[in-house]
């Protein structure tokens, strides 16, 4: 590889600003007292506090996992702050009551919360540090019977639904970070789509970490009742800070019989600077459970975070259930990603598709880790896995860890993998046709990711493509 692919310049992270807003932040540290305090601040019912405490006690017995192919300095859990909320946020009657400073923050991020300027056809729930600051388009959703609100509001308004489904896909005992999240989660989004209803709008949650040294532990719960369908998108950004911040979220999806849930993520947390200082630790548990003929589809475009550690998975519990995972993960500079999926085939004739595209530039390290498990009763289960890696330059790495366990002879599994390098040849070919090097790279990368981008909702496919261009800008000189 000649020198022109060597020189790396870090593109300024456009979302790295800090909002100056008065916050209600509890002292750092974690104990049962912290959890009681969070629960009290949120005026939660006793059952939820009890659930948190059980999770906390379980967490104390667990150890941080170190099997992902990433390295980082030890995390001091007592140095983290577990709750921070903009002071002005109380249960709001309407978006007019939202602090203008917060509205401006979201405007700057390109997310308009004001009803007049809203993205057409998209309802947004905005999570600032630990709490939801507003949900748009509520009336329109209500007409369809769709519940889309902050998690805190769901606990108050729809406790029976929350109690029934919370932890039903990701139990608090699931893993170290899921247990931590269950103990301290402060807010998140809740979606319920009733029987037979096709949600009339795209739903979107926008997560923003603002406060320093504060972890963000949100929880998303999506329930699609029988025959319902919904498409959901999350976006994430954070200010540039020299310290690492922990983001340990949990997303649970329940798709009852014949339901369809499409969950798309465009993750652009601050990735740290080019020397690897600062950035978000993105340790996330995402899982869905698909009952009979239900379909859950995960699409993710992961460009941010210093370290990403997530495996959006599907438990294919019912017969004829379908699970899909489409992923683009980009690492540049010193970023590390260990990401993939788990497809657990339990029901008969269940079908899963995994398309993973890893792009490594700079000194980034990108690992695909995926499990396909076919249980004894999953007659006729099928999986197709395609796992492609692209290298830009020669200091980065791509790694693949597929795990396949099949306990039923009638299952059909296919696995394809490839590794390619953006070469001088491809770039020169584009240049010889009048395209400059950056245009060439973005074109080559977009082509590489095409199968994933076409799964994104229209409005976001373009955004994702641009984001990818920005993440890799300067990766070729």
């Amino acid at each position: 590889m000649s020198s022109s692919i060597e020189s790396l310049v870090n593109k300024e992270y456009a979302y790295g600003f800090v909002t100056d807003i008065e916050s209600d932040t509890i002292p750092a540290g974690l104990s049962e007292e912290t959890i009681r305090l969070i629960s009290a601040k949120k005026e939660e019912p006793a059952w939820l506090l009890e659930w948190r405490l059980k999770a906390y006690r379980r967490w104390l017995t667990m150890t941080e996992p170190h099997w992902p192919n990433v390295t980082y300095a030890p995390i001091d859990y007592q140095a983290q702050t577990y709750y921070s909320a903009p002071k002005s946020v109380k249960p709001l009657q309407s978006l007019d009551e939202v602090d203008p400073e917060l509205l401006r923050t979201y405007e700057k991020l390109g997310i308009s919360l004001t009803e007049q300027k809203r993205l057409s056809g998209v309802a947004v729930d905005a999570i600032f540090d630990s709490v939801s600051v507003g949900t748009t388009m509520k009336e329109e959703l209500k007409k369809a019977g769709v519940i889309f609100c902050s998690f805190g509001e769901a606990v108050r308004e729809h406790p029976e639904l929350v109690q029934r489904y919370l932890g039903s896909v990701v139990p608090y005992s699931d893993n170290f970070f899921a247990a931590l999240n269950s103990a301290v989660f402060s807010d998140g989004s809740f979606v319920y789509v009733p029987k037979g209803v096709k949600c009339p709008l795209e739903l979107s949650t926008y997560f923003r970490i603002n406060a320093a040294d504060t972890g963000q532990f949100e929880r998303t719960l999506i329930v699609a009742d029988e025959g319902a369908s919904v498409s959901y998108l999350e976006g994430c950004t954070a200010p540039k800070r020299a310290t690492n911040q922990l983001h340990a979220a949990v997303v649970e999806i329940v798709a009852l019989d014949d339901a369809t849930v499409k969950y798309s993520t465009v993750q652009n947390w601050y990735a740290g600077d080019k020397d690897g200082v600062g950035g978000i630790y993105n340790f996330v548990t995402k899982r869905g459970k698909a009952l009979t003929r239900a379909k859950i589809s995960w699409t993710q475009v992961e460009t941010g975070s210093a370290i990403t550690w997530k495996y959006p998975s599907v438990i294919l519990q019912g017969d004829d259930a379908v699970g899909e995972f489409y992923s683009v993960a980009v690492v540049n500079n010193r970023q590390q990603a260990d990401t993939g999926t788990k497809m657990i085939h339990i029901g008969r004739n269940t079908k899963s598709t995994i398309i993973s595209k890893g792009i490594s530039a700079g000194q980034g390290q990108n690992s695909y880790r995926g499990q396909v498990k076919v249980l004894p009763k999953a007659e006729g289960a099928r999986n197709y896995t395609q796992c492609d890696s692209m290298l830009i330059g020669n200091k980065c790495g791509a790694h693949t860890f597929p795990y396949i366990e099949v306990a039923n002879n009638s299952a059909t599994l296919e696995h394809e993998a490839s590794t390619s390098k953006i070469g001088e040849d491809q770039i020169f070919y584009c240049k010889a046709r009048g395209l400059n090097a950056e245009h060439a790279i973005s074109l080559i990368v977009a082509g590489f990711c095409k199968e994933v981008f076409k799964e994104l909702p229209m409005e976001f496919a373009l955004e994702a493509q641009q984001l990818l261009g920005i993440s890799l800008e300067g990766s070729v000189g």
Binding site: E424, D425, Y429, A432, R433, H439, I444, G447, F448
Partner: protein
């Protein structure tokens, strides 16, 4: 249009071109012939601006500009086109998208408005005929899974769309069967105009049965050892290259 003066170029520290001088005027077709390793493809790549070659001496003037001062994409924007010996694959990017991106870059460089995908369809319709291809060709990924003949036809299609002033065809005949050769050559001939010039780099004479050159230059050991008219190519076909190499000290 193009004046190459005492051009020296090397790759990986090894000198390949050892003093090439060549003048090409609008309306002319020049054939560059020579044995393997003589530097033919290097000359083509250096004209197009491949970063793998270092120009260690001499100059190339193109339309009054110092060509060596320009980045590869600027040369393309100024009307220089290289038809690759080994066209590169770009999976996932359709021919239509790629060609329109290139077409628009050239338009932008001329200060013209970019064309949208619909307008571009009209441009393409006519150009596809030049290389006898149907529209489905446009929806396939650039060169990915193309046969050797399709790749070369795709190069000529790009040339038709980009309408260069100076086209350099690098071994466009290699790996072509006789039908593909005819289509490619006829495509090149249809694109010939009094205002543009073509350099045909080839090892064999057979392409020159279709694309008739005004001048033939024999390259050997990094130098032009003989120049002549089209009859020189026939002489080479009959006698091979050796009779030129020894007197030239190669």
């Amino acid at each position: 249009m193009l004046t190459i003066t005492d051009l020296h170029a090397s790759a990986g520290g090894k000198e390949i071109l050892k003093g090439i001088s060549l003048t090409i005027n609008a309306g002319e077709v020049h054939a560059i012939m020579g044995p393997n390793g003589s530097g033919k493809s290097t000359l083509a790549q250096v004209i197009a601006g491949h970063p793998g070659y270092e120009v260690t001496g001499g100059s190339i003037a193109y339309e009054g500009q110092d060509l060596l001062d320009l980045e590869a994409e600027e040369r393309a924007q100024a009307g220089v086109f290289l038809a690759f010996q080994y066209p590169v694959e770009i999976p996932g990017v359709t021919n239509a998208y790629f060609l329109r991106a290139a077409y628009n870059e050239l338009r932008k460089a001329r200060g013209e408005d970019e064309v949208d995908p619909i307008e571009f369809l009209d441009v393409m319709e006519e150009k596809l005929k030049v290389v006898e291809m149907d529209a489905s060709f446009m929806q396939r990924s650039v060169n990915a899974g193309f046969s050797g003949g399709e790749k070369k036809r795709n190069e000529i299609l790009q040339m038709a769309v980009l309408d260069p002033k100076l086209a350099v065809l690098d071994e466009t005949d290699s790996g072509l069967d006789i039908d593909a050769l005819r289509i490619v050559a006829e495509g090149v001939n249809k694109l010939k105009k009094p205002t543009n010039a073509t350099i045909v780099v080839t090892h064999y004479q057979r392409l020159l049965n279709y694309i008739v050159p005004d001048f033939v230059h024999v390259l050997a050991g990094g130098r032009i050892v003989r120049s002549g008219g089209k009859e020189l190519a026939l002489e080479l076909e009959a006698k091979g290259y050796d009779w030129l190499l020894e007197p030239a000290g190669v």
